[in-house]
């Protein structure tokens, strides 16, 4: 979708969160934003999956700690069956332990619980523009997951190109890992911000694929062994 078209229309958002207060507050935040539209809110995974059959939002916010199933399962289901729906995962701390599995399951990014309203809506909009928010720690971990060899220590050494990441993608991840913003990264690498976002989307997809591949490979190994 082009930016103009997106701005002209409201983004539909659905929420899956079992804590009533938190859900209420996020729902209020979404509603308060003119560019966002609250499509649905669910208090459990089962309800969400049932609801998806009727209403497919453009953005789905999922909490990991759901009462009836793991949020990861919801993410996986939605990513597999509703490719047009982007999933964002809620995280208390944005720590690697929770975020990376979610991304590997198919989420496109994460939101910090307890962040201010503006940050939430900003992040959701950023997602619609094609970018997913990444923290330096997460970027570092993604780099580690997708690159078997350690990166060169000093200086931007040449990347041998092994592993699923392209040299450009490695560069981007490294800069984000060091704390540069997306715009700064784009500026320093001499590319547009849109290109950076595109790369990041690809990186996310690769991570999901990689984890699936790894899972299949591991299962294979186990069967063989």
């Amino acid at each position: 979708m082009s930016i103009e078209a997106t701005l002209a229309k409201q983004l539909s958002v659905a929420i899956v969160e079992d804590d009533d207060d938190t859900r209420a507050w996020i729902a209020a935040s979404v509603s308060a934003n003119s560019e966002l539209r609250l499509a649905a809110q669910y208090a459990s995974g089962g309800a969400a999956l049932a609801g998806m059959a009727k209403v497919v939002p453009e953005v789905l916010l999922v909490d990991l700690g759901l009462p009836d199933m793991s949020g990861l399962e919801v993410i996986r289901f939605v990513a597999a069956n509703y490719p047009d729906c982007d999933v964002l995962v809620f995280s208390t701390f944005g720590d690697e332990e929770h975020v990376l599995p979610a991304i590997e399951a198919g989420a496109r990014g994460f939101l910090l619980k307890g962040a201010l309203t503006r940050d939430i809506t900003h992040d959701i909009q950023a997602l619609s523009h094609g970018g997913s928010p990444l923290s330096p720690v997460i970027a570092r971990q993604v780099l580690k997951r997708l690159r078997p060899e350690p990166p060169p220590l000093i200086g931007e050494g040449a990347d041998t190109g092994k592993g699923p990441l392209t040299p450009r993608e490695v560069e981007i991840l490294r800069m984000i890992a060091r704390g540069f913003s997306y715009t700064e990264t784009a500026g320093l690498l001499g590319i547009s911000a849109q290109t950076v976002h595109t790369h990041l989307k690809r990186i996310y997809r690769k991570l999901a694929v990689h984890s699936k591949t790894e899972a299949v490979f591991e299962a294979d190994q186990r069967r063989l062994i």
């Binding site: 701390f93 944005g94 923290s135 720690v137 570092r140 060091r178 540069f180």
Partner: protein, 625 residues
């Protein structure tokens, strides 16, 4: 094998004495006539020739005599041999004289030596002289022998045989040579090999002195054998006497020491005494005149034989306890040695035939064989004992190693548990001091009903930030300071954006730091947070620069947070809470920190972290200077 050898030796001794009474074409003269005279030519028939039986041992017939004697022997040669022009030969079993010259029918027989040439030294060797048939005549022939010597040295004339050359050679000379010379040479060679072998085995490890003494005995006897067979030409009496003494009795003292060693007895005084006795005897042999030397030899022979017999008897007694085979052989060898030595001693004294073979050289190999059996067995048992001791030692060492490893692993586990406990303690303290007190303070505020919601919200936000910071510190940074700094910016991005300040982010690709523990990460993040917070809140700055670069010359990473704000006076630096906290945190983790500021001149906070594996906190502190 050994029994067979012994039998062979006995047979040889017997047959040697027997061989010379065989062939009829050879005449063995057992009577002669003698005349004591210093004449150079055969004395006339009219001289006072005295009859005498052969062999003529001067020690018995004219004791103490020193000088020259003429002998006249008669023998018949059949006409047939003269006509056939067959070569003849003269044979005598031993060369028992100083100088000798033969005359046949008045004419001198060609002989390699001139009378008066240096002394013959091959006393024990058989003697053979070719007699051309032209010098013989049919019927009676006269053989004149001019001989000089010492009665004390057991000089004299052995039985003389004359006959067809080839027969004399084959039936008399060759067998005697084989028994008396060749066989002893072979034994000598065998003992030389045994001695060298034992020596080389001993040399390798030097652990068993028995091998060394066995080698010495074998080599001493081998040397004696070769001296016996090929004694060097010596003019000087003293040197010759010494040499012969050593040759005959030199091996006995080492033999005694060997027996002691095998038996495992330590008698250093006795050994010293024996060596002293030997040295004294050697000195006596060098200095004594011929007569005294001869007496000395007699005494020494008896004494040493007695000592050897005693030592061997003792050894047999010792080894008989261990097993039959050894002691039986040793006993047989000892008996042989005593018998042969006794036989030779009797001959020396004059009780047995002058011409008989010297038998003692045959006893020695047998003895050495018997001893080698013992020595090898002993050596084997020593080696086995060593191997056992080694194996035991290895087992002990292995056990100790296992103990050490177990202790080490226990220690490692304890250390790990300790580390975990410390970490837990730290987290507890952090939460207690940070979150705990923060929440309590907030609760108090709420209870007092005096706070507005905005204030409560702010405080809760701060507490959540702090909690996030703690969680952050446990995230895997993998030693990358860039991620640590990036994370701080990520957390503060909202606040920074809202403040409207320009942030210049100049963080380079940094080398990993091995010692970046969660504790360090948290402290660094808090310092940087504090510095940024000061810049945002108090400095009223418009530009903040955060830079991090690796300085190769110092082997360290330098982090700088600088702003262009109002700055503060240096005196205030010590009194301000935030600044004191920063310094305190830096000191706690051993990182040098510099805070430069001047009113109106902005503020600059610098941290330096060494990049190196073994950099301890103390060392790190020193890197700044």
């Amino acid at each position: 094998m050994k029994r067979f050898l012994a039998a062979l030796v006995m047979l040889a001794a017997g047959s040697a004495a027997w061989a010379e009474t065989a062939a009829p074409e050879v005449t063995t003269m057992e009577t002669a006539e003698f005349l004591v005279s210093d004449a150079e030519d055969p004395p006339a028939d009219s001289a006072l020739w005295q009859p005498i039986a052969l062999p003529d041992n001067w020690h018995l017939s004219r004791p103490g005599f020193e000088g020259q004697v003429w002998y006249r022997l008669r023998f018949d040669v059949p006409q047939v041999f003269i006509d056939a022009k067959r070569g003849h030969a003269l044979y005598s079993p031993r060369n028992a004289f100083m100088h000798v010259r033969f005359f046949l029918n008045g004419n001198p027989l060609a002989f390699g030596r001139v009378y008066g040439d240096p002394l013959l030294t091959e006393t024990q060797r058989p003697f053979l002289l070719t007699v051309p048939s032209l010098m013989l005549r049919a019927g009676e022939n006269h053989l004149y022998i001019r001989m000089s010597g010492h009665a004390e040295e057991r000089h004299g004339l052995s039985r003389v045989s004359i006959g067809l050359g080839y027969l004399v050679r084959r039936l008399y000379y060759q067998p005697r040579y084989d028994y008396q010379v060749t066989s002893i040479a072979m034994f000598g060679a065998a003992l030389l090999c045994a001695g060298v072998l034992a020596l080389s085995v001993w040399w390798g490890r030097r652990s068993d002195p028995v091998l060394l003494w066995f080698a010495i005995v074998a080599l001493a006897w081998s040397g004696a054998a070769y001296l016996f067979l090929w004694p060097p030409d010596l003019q000087q009496d003293s040197v010759r006497q010494l040499l012969y003494f050593v040759m005959e009795h030199g091996y006995v003292t080492p033999l005694l020491v060997l027996c002691l060693r095998i038996g495992g007895a330590r008698a250093p005084r006795l050994e010293a005494l024996l060596w002293l006795a030997f040295t004294l005897c050697c000195a006596a042999a060098t200095l004594a005149g011929v007569e005294l030397y001869s007496r000395l030899l007699d005494v020494a022979a008896v004494m040493y034989l007695f000592l050897a017999a005693t030592a061997l008897a003792w050894l047999i007694h010792i080894t008989s306890k261990e097993g039959q085979r050894n002691s039986l052989f040793l006993g047989l060898a000892l008996a042989t040695l005593i018998a042969f030595s006794g036989y030779d001693g009797a001959r020396w004294i004059g009780y047995t035939d002058f011409d008989n073979l010297l038998l003692t050289p045959f006893a020695m190999p047998f003895l050495i064989l018997a001893l080698s059996d013992t020595v090898v067995l002993r050596h084997l048992s020593v080696v086995r004992a060593l191997a056992r001791a080694n194996a035991e030692l290895e087992r002990d060492v292995a056990e100790k190693m296992r103990e050490v490893e177990w202790t080490y692993s226990q220690m490692q586990t304890a250390l790990r548990e300790q580390a975990v406990l410390r970490e837990r303690q730290r987290i507890m303290t952090d939460m207690h001091d940070g979150l705990g007190s923060g929440l309590i303070g907030l609760l108090s505020l709420v209870r007092s009903r005096g706070a507005d919601l905005a204030q409560v919200e702010r405080r809760l936000d701060d507490l959540l930030t702090d909690l996030r910071a703690i969680v952050d510190s446990f995230q895997p940074m993998e030693g990358d300071l860039g991620v640590v700094l990036g994370n701080v910016r990520y957390r503060m991005s909202g606040a920074i954006e809202r403040s409207g300040v320009n942030l210049a982010w100049l963080v380079e690709q940094l080398p990993p730091i091995e010692y970046l523990t969660p504790d360090m990460v948290l402290s660094i993040q808090r310092i940087v947070l504090e510095a940024l917070a000061n810049a945002l809140r108090h400095a009223a700055a418009s530009n903040i620069t955060v830079s991090a670069k690796y300085i190769a010359e110092r082997g360290a990473i330098r982090i700088t947070i600088a702003d262009d704000g109002v700055g503060f006076a240096p005196e205030r630096a010590e009194r301000g809470h935030g600044l004191r906290n920063m310094r305190g945190r830096a000191t706690k983790i051993g990182i040098p920190i510099e805070i430069d500021s001047s009113p109106g001149g902005g503020t600059r906070v610098t941290l330096e972290l060494g990049v190196g594996k073994d950099v301890s906190p103390g060392e790190r502190a020193g890197l700044a200077s």
